[in-house]
């Protein structure tokens, strides 16, 4: 069965590559912020680049929070990069504390390490599959994915962390709770493994 895929249009950064990847996988995604479209969608992808506070401002300005929360009661959602971060309860970026969508309890903070580290964490890094999950189907454990971020998701509950990487210290980069998934890296820019992960998400029942 073909699902109706919606890529949420909430004015955050470069989404073409996400649209392109979903098309490449044989789907015909809608790119929209229309509430009716959100209601009808079987799967939502939340893309995003930029800052936590800006993204939440857009969500609030477009009044999309209620629709998103309604959607995930029954259907699946995947947040990518910043789209993953705003799944958290709260984010600390640009010196501000901003409320997130609170779909996966946790907070988003700047990368910290005892050592002096270069930010953003940019480039290919391997993802350790901490838990078995359909989203990892036919993807090798420790496959490489393309990362580009300075902030990380600190999950309140370790059981929601299903994939991790190390950049000096360990951090969560695949999270899942019920119908909600988030990936810190860019699967749409991660060649075969990335396309496979998106495909797995789109095929989830």
């Amino acid at each position: 069965m073909k699902y109706k895929i919606l890529i949420l249009d909430y004015n955050v950064g470069n989404v073409n590559s996400v649209i392109k990847a979903v098309r490449h996988l044989g789907h015909d995604p809608i790119f929209s912020k229309n509430k009716k479209d959100i209601e009808k969608a079987d799967k939502i992808i939340l893309p995003g680049q930029g800052s936590f506070d800006f993204a939440m401002k857009q969500i609030n300005h477009l009044k999309l929070e209620k629709e998103i929360l309604e959607h995930v009661k029954k259907k699946k959602l995947l947040g990518i990069c910043l789209g993953m971060q705003i799944l958290a309860s709260v984010g600390y970026e640009n010196g501000k504390k901003t409320k997130g969508l609170n779909l996966i309890p946790g907070k988003v903070i700047k990368f910290q390490s005892k050592k002096k580290i270069k930010l953003p964490h940019i480039g290919w890094n391997e993802v350790k599959q901490e838990k078995k999950n359909k989203i990892f189907d036919n993807i090798l454990d420790k496959a490489d994915f393309y990362h580009c971020h300075s902030y990380i998701f600190k999950s309140l509950n370790i059981k929601n962390v299903i994939g991790t990487s190390r950049y000096h210290d360990k951090f969560a980069n695949v999270i899942n709770k019920d119908n909600v998934f988030g990936v810190q890296f860019h699967p749409e820019k991660s060649l075969k493994s990335g396309l496979k992960l998106i495909e797995n998400f789109l095929n989830l029942e």
Binding site: S17, S51, L191
Partner: protein, 250 residues
Amino acid sequence: MNKIRIIPSILYRNFSIVKGKNFASWRIVGNLQQIVKIYSLREVDEIIFLDLDAHKSNNINYDLIQNFANECFMPVTIGGGIKSLYDIEKLLKAGADKICINTEAFLNKSLISEAVKQFGSQCISISIDYKTYKKKKFIHINSGKNPTKKLLFDWLKEINDLNVGEILCTSIDHEGMMNGFDVKTLKEINSKSSSPIIASGGCGRPSDVSKLLQKTKVSGISIASMFHFSEFTPLDVKNHLRKKKYKIRN
């Protein structure tokens, strides 16, 4: 930890892919669509595309970039002729993942701080070209053509405050010579920069990359001439690095 990225760079001028020596004596080395297709099939880590004419002609070729980005399921950095936030926005819409700015960053630093604020540091990088005169290193702008009075490390200090995503560093003296990187300077740049560094200029054989990495672990290596003029491919570089026990993408 992060893997070392091997990044083919594509230099575009007069509707062709070109390659020069020390930023001069340009030769046509191929057709864009063809080269992108090859890199895409070879699943390279990333691609850097620099349009050398765009600055002069005041004309960024968005259609070209869109066509080319369509082929790529890996990160793509685009540079050349970018002068405003509007240019950046249009390039991102055309499919660029990262934007690389050189001349305009030098002439107008506030463009960079505004761009970082608006689009995030992850997609804004600065490119710097430097050349040595009597042991002193000076910044050049306009695709290497115009020398400035700014010293390399003074400029780097200023860039550190701009919080950009990456810095692409090219030694004009080494560029296109295929005799190895400017290891000593790149080491100093990497230790003084708070952003990740992409080293460029001088790679002639895969062992040049490991010679650089032995001294300083830069984030990425940009290579043009070697992939155009020698039999070495990105995979050869990776196989060499793998043998040397460096972490690279599988």
